[in-house]
Amino acid sequence: MEWLVFGPLAAVALATAVSVIVLRNPIYCALSLVGTFFALSGLYLLLQAQFIAVVQVIVYAGAIMVLFLFVIMLLDVGHEPPPWLRQDTPRLVLGIGLVTLLLLELAVAIGSWVSHGIRGSYTSDLVNAVGNTQLVGRLLFTDFLIPFEITSFILLIAIVGAMVLAKR
């Protein structure tokens, strides 16, 4: 059953991710990325992380990508010639070679990996009984209180910084 959900979502995620980096029109790239975010949000639902799934849609699709679209439209960025038509084959080959190496390394690592992780106490039954959002909220305000406060500080700095940069 789960495979029926996982398969299509994974396929969509991969296809849209590839189109982000190969399409020429930046608007289409941004929209493809929105597609990837939606597919990931679906996968989070499958992993019983409902809160993260919805926040993914609100933050990434609803705010971040709208900002991207806004900037693309504002700057009127022209189409870029596709990478394989540009005259810098050495860099292209080097880049793809390095990435292939990275992928191989990751494949070996995942293939030979045995979990030594300490299992926590948040089993799927508990999450269903208490609610994913409630659990995340409780942890944020107890164990992770200081990182949470620091995050708000980072956001404040970002707002001020963006204002300063844009005002010039």
Binding site: V57, G62, F70, M73, T133
Partner: protein, 329 residues
């Protein structure tokens, strides 16, 4: 753990009923708006098609369907089609989690009068609502028209600005109800409606809801007098109708949200729950039309200043006060 087949039958039935009712009420909302606006301006509104113009929506639909569907030559064809579709889908989906009545017994089984009760219902509505921006921004961009682009950019800025205050205004409700499920939020209002406990939150929600639906006095994205018609200048025929339906469906959705969050949803004495729900919904929709007939449009700088320098701080103060209240209780 497969659900029984009856579950699917009931689910499909609920979806069809709610969707059909939404489409029908969107159609009649256009009639209602023209009628109410007419009477406010001391004229009669549509009178020709059917008694008191009651068949006017059908005439409108037929007319729009038979109009020529014009696509500007320099437009981006894919996005030009995708944008109104997105707007329409986003405006309809949020109704999936809004409860419109209590549990009823029908054919010997108990049925919840909500399509699905998810534990993140409120966030779901916000997530879907934030997608409505795409329809407008992309439509404005794909038309390849300066007025349309300006309208689209304006609406993006406006919706992002007011979404913040909209989100913050319901935090008070969340603290009181201790749940994100809309069914739970309605149940939490069995003692007192949240409009009594959260009057400031309610007002902020209402103002932001008007801004989010791009209705007067916040209808800058489609300001006729300065932007011709904003993001949908180039749209005609059925695509224009889709934008039009999306706007009215959004009105119904935010009215339903206001009802659910602040007016106790379907709760009320004597009358059946569904009647109460629809009655409160109608109240908000009438308010929307009334506002449009009464208030002039904001200027763009006024809109931004109001959103960021007034609504946002007030919403934050409201959260602080509610938090103190909840903590001390």
């Amino acid at each position: 753990m497969m659900p029984e087949p009856a579950f699917f039958v009931i689910m499909v039935a609920k979806i069809i009923v709610v969707f059909g009712l939404m489409v029908l009420s969107v159609a009649y909302l256009t009639w209602l708006e023209r009628k109410v606006l007419g009477h406010i301006q001391v004229r009669l509104g549509p009178m020709r098609v059917g008694p008191h113009g009651l068949l006017q929506p059908f005439a409108d639909v037929l007319k729009l369907m038979f109009k020529e569907d014009i696509v500007p030559q320099a437009a981006d064809r894919v996005l030009y089609f995708l944008a109104p579709t997105l707007a329409l889908i986003a405006s309809f989906i949020s109704f999936a989690v809004i409860p419109f009545g209590d549990r009823v017994r029908l054919f010997g089984r108990s049925i919840d009068l909500v399509i699905t009760d998810v534990n993140i219902g409120l966030l779901f509505v916000f997530g879907v609502a934030s997608l409505g921006i795409y329809g407008i921004v992309l439509g404005g961009w794909a038309s390849n028209n300066k007025y349309a682009l300006l309208g689209g950019l304006r609406s993006a800025a406006q919706m992002i600005s007011y979404e913040l205050s909209l989100g913050l205004s319901v935090v008070g409700v969340l603290m009181l109800s201790r749940s994100l499920s809309l069914v739970e939020i309605v149940n939490a209002q069995s003692q007192a409606w949240f409009i009594v406990l959260q009057p400031i939150g309610f007002l902020i929600f209402l103002i932001c809801a008007v801004a989010e639906t791009n209705r007067a006095p916040f209808d800058l994205p489609e300001a006729e007098t300065e932007l011709v018609a904003g993001f949908h200048v180039e749209y005609s025929s059925i695509k224009f109708a889709m934008y039009f339906m999306a706007e009215y469906a959004n009105m119904i959705t935010v009215s339903a949200m206001a009802t659910t969050l602040f007016l106790g949803g379907w709760r009320g004495p004597f009358l059946p729950p569904v009647v109460w729900f629809l009655g409160k919904l109608f109240l908000f929709i009438f308010l929307f039309i009334w506002l449009r007939a009464t208030l002039p449009r904001f200027r763009y700088d006024q809109l931004m200043r109001f959103g960021w320098k007034f609504l946002l701080p007030v919403a934050l103060a409201n959260i602080m006060i509610t938090a103190a209240f909840v903590a001390l209780r």
